[in-house]
Amino acid sequence: MSETKTSASTIGRQIINKYPDVQSQPLEDNKIELIVPGEKIRDVITMIDELLDDALPESAFGIDLENDQYNLIYIFWSYTNRILLQLRVALEGEKPEIDSVCDIFPGFEWHEREAREMFGIEFRNHPDPRLLLLPDELDGAYPMRKRFKTDQSRLQETGIKPPKPRPKPGGEDK
């Protein structure tokens, strides 16, 4: 573990000095957000691995901003330096692609699998691109996208009786 502490701004500055495409946005005192273009994600994460030797890969997930725009967020926590590092990647397209970072931080492997099945973001060179949480019939349905409607269209298949209509306020339902 590193004995000397660095601060989030130092790390941010070091990364931006090396990769000028990266932009930064401070969040709170020791937390920083970096906006990274998709092609540079492996380089930036390798650099984080070198700079912070006790970086914990906390989570990686996608966000569906509508109109085929996606954001992919990676969060790292270093406890000796008390730095929370959030990387944001903007992706777009029907099936966006990005490099996988599992070999650098193995803890992201299942996060990437889940992002793939829920949002449809393809991770290149991922060692195990199977479905993680979803049953087989939802393969390709990408449920966490905003256009996946959780309506009751398949209710007949389940055999559950549909709920009774709620009474309108102000009196009995005629």
Partner: protein, 379 residues
């Protein structure tokens, strides 16, 4: 092992219907008694909580979260409430801070008692499985007196807490805590002094800190390596009362393999955690102000519609770092995106690397000591 041994390999599904697998499965490849490959399989417990959170308003969302892991119910719902409070900039009154902290430590105590009994039941030590569970009944009595429910406490609310500590609640908490403290030395003696227990858990499931961090392990499995990583000290939350108490991060002296932890260390570590939890509760109870609001009166209005933004609520759960990342749109009543990070993903993921090479009976010990709970990964 040479590759041609794999021709004798037997594929065994440590399936979802197994006494020790509480909702997950693993496909094991066995050669004789040794596990050669382990492929953990999640998804049997998937409840699409993140999608559900996009349809619940900000006071209901915590209830979805506490059902992710009922063993540490309050610790599970707290990140959501912390994120909402950050976005809406709600302050929490003093009495509520202390009550929250006491409840968190009680949940941690309950989680340790539950895991202790369950781990022993998996090892076949039924005597030691039931003894901590008797004490757990007293902790659950305290929960029931406070909130009316034993497991799904639904205690957190943005801006404070929902129920007040009455005298009966304080009596029950004191009873639970004192009973645990009285009986812990005897239990610890029976557990750690049992030669069969040491034979089963010594040097099983060794990993070191760097490996653990790369997997994403946090909480007791990392602290058992001798590393003082605790969010309560590293990332203190202004809405909790940990700074009013004089306490140290619970880590064990790991003299035999410093920097590494085996199953025995992880057991000892969880005893330490429970002891520190009890210490914190005992120091906080006298500091509870006699009267005062338990919830910020403006909280209800502010938590109705939140401004646009992103917030990240974190807590040191009983199993590790539990977080919730929240994104809202302007004047929305529900979350736009809520990402739940459970602490147990790393425990499952670590099985892929820890188990190959171990015997089949050790597989149970390894995952039991890592304390995985499928509710956190499958959500």
């Amino acid at each position: 092992m040479s590759p041609d041994i794999l021709e004798d390999a037997m594929e065994l599904w440590f399936g979802p219907q197994h006494v020790s697998a509480h909702g997950w499965a693993a496909k094991l490849t066995l050669v004789g008694d040794y596990v050669v490959e382990c492929d953990p399989n999640a998804g049997y417990f998937h409840r699409s909580a993140e999608k559900v959170l996009e349809f619940k308003n900000f006071r209901q969302g915590a209830l979805v979260l506490e059902r992710m892991c009922m063993l540490e119910a309050f610790l599970a719902e707290y990140p959501y409430v912390a994120a909402v409070e950050k976005l809406a900039e709600i302050e929490v009154p003093e009495r509520a801070k202390i009550m929250r902290t006491i409840m968190m430590e009680l949940s941690r105590l309950h989680s340790v008692q539950f895991w202790w009994g369950q781990f022993n039941a998996e090892l076949g030590f039924f005597t030691m499985a039931l003894w901590p569970w008797v004490d757990r009944e007293y902790t659950l009595d305290a929960f029931e007196e406070l909130t009316g429910s034993r497991h799904t406490v639904s205690y957190a609310s943005p801006g404070g807490v929902k129920y007040d500590f009455t005298d009966k609640v304080l009596t029950q908490i004191n009873r639970a805590v004192n009973r645990f403290e009285d009986r812990l030395p005897k239990f610890r003696d029976m557990q750690m002094g049992s030669p069969t227990f040491r034979a089963r858990t010594k040097d099983i499931g060794l990993y070191d800190v760097k490996q653990g961090l790369k997997w994403g392990l946090s909480g007791p499995p990392i602290k058992a390596c001798g590393v003082p990583m605790d969010l309560r000290k590293d990332d203190p939350d202004p809405n909790l009362a940990y700074d009013m108490v004089d306490w140290e991060v619970p880590i064990i002296e790991n003299s035999e393999h410093p920097g590494q932890s085996d199953a025995l260390d992880r057991m000892e570590q969880r005893f330490k955690e429970a002891e520190v939890a009890v210490e914190i509760i005992k120091q906080l109870l006298p500091q509870l102000p006699d009267s005062g609001p338990i919830i910020n009166p403006k909280a209800r209005g502010k938590a109705n519609r939140l401004p646009e933004g992103e917030a990240y609520g974190r807590v040191e759960g009983a199993r590790g770092i539990t977080t919730l990342w929240l994104k809202t749109q302007e004047k929305a009543q529900t979350a736009y995106r809520a990402k739940i990070r459970g602490p147990c993903i790393a425990s499952y993921y670590a099985l892929k690397d820890l188990v190959p090479g171990a015997k089949f009976a050790d597989f149970i010990v390894i995952f039991g000591s890592l304390d995985p709970y499928p509710g956190w990964w499958d959500r």
